[in-house]
């Protein structure tokens, strides 16, 4: 990603928290496309992603953005059109291009707040990279 920023969300159940995050993605990007980073399998709906088998998940804004990432990778034209989720044993790491971009900032705020939900039981912290 282009000078990406990592957000670490500490949670007891990162798979369930990841599900909340992809539901949040749906809100801003209703045509989002999801990709398992390890298998390259793509899914057109968040609930189709087998999250329990997914270690790293790319969420693209839409199919066009996914194609652009395929064709060009991290270039200025693809900035802020993809969110990268990495699942750890007790945390989720969320990587975005520019955390100050309006949509990215709003998404990160929602990820953070959802992560603090009692059902997930833990807070979050940001680390500079």
């Amino acid at each position: 990603m282009i000078g990406g920023s990592d957000e670490i969300i500490a949670v007891k159940n990162p798979i369930a928290a990841l599900r909340a995050c992809v539901q949040i993605i749906d809100w801003w990007w209703p045509d989002a496309v999801f990709e398992d980073a390890d298998t390259s399998a793509r899914y057109g709906a968040s609930h189709e992603v087998p999250l329990g088998k997914t270690r790293e998940l790319f969420a693209y804004k839409d199919a066009l953005a996914a194609e652009a990432w395929d064709d060009s990778g991290a270039v200025p034209q693809t900035a802020n059109t993809m969110v990268d989720f990495l699942r750890g044993p007790r945390q989720l790491t969320v990587v975005v291009d520019n955390p100050d971009d309006a949509v990215m900032a709003a998404m990160l705020k929602a990820f953070r707040e959802a992560g603090r939900s009692q059902v997930f039981n833990r807070g979050s912290k940001r680390v500079a990279v």
Binding site: N13, A20, I24, K53, A110, E113, A114, V119
Partner: protein
């Protein structure tokens, strides 16, 4: 449900860490498994009424597949089975776990008189209404995350509670 299917269900509950469903409050374990088998049977009937052609066939095989795809999703569903007596609400939980969102929620209560929990889901563009008058079903609300999207309040679910 056959005896071997019940054994497979018991093994799945152990693997999922939700064997409390058959360890307690029922005793012996065989009775609990019979009860779960009966719940799944009623659930199939309710799902067919509510979802017609889109109804899944609830079986041990389906639950096993669910466990393989996302163990937390199966755990959430099993915990719901342990929380509510209503197969209608279990259909709601299943829908939430498979792409539906909570569109509206209403809670009404008068001490010693009445309780009503109404949840409307939006699923594939359609609205589905689920209503409970059993006050114990309030326990289902613990399985929702709450946050804001664009400053607007959101309930999102359905998630397992960790022990």
């Amino acid at each position: 449900m056959t005896t071997s299917e019940k054994q497979a269900l018991a093994a799945l509950l152990e693997e999922a860490g939700e064997s409390w469903l058959i360890d307690e409050p029922f005793s012996p374990r065989e009775d609990a498994l019979n009860h779960l088998a009966e719940v799944l049977e009623r659930l199939n009937s309710t799902a067919r009424q509510r979802l017609s052609g889109n109804a899944p066939e609830f079986s041990v095989a389906l639950l096993r597949r669910e466990f393989g795809d996302d163990a937390s999703r199966l755990r959430a569903f099993l915990q719901a089975i342990g929380t509510t007596q209503s197969t209608d609400l279990l259909v709601m939980v299943w829908q939430l776990l498979h792409g539906a969102h909570v569109d509206q929620m209403e809670l009404g209560y008068k001490r010693g008189t009445s309780f009503e929990l109404k949840i409307v889901l939006k699923s594939r563009g359609n609205l589905e209404e689920y209503v409970s008058h059993d006050i114990n079903d309030i326990g289902l609300l613990r399985h929702f995350a709450t946050f804001h999207l664009d400053g607007k309040p959101v309930f999102e679910g359905f998630f397992p509670l960790d022990s």
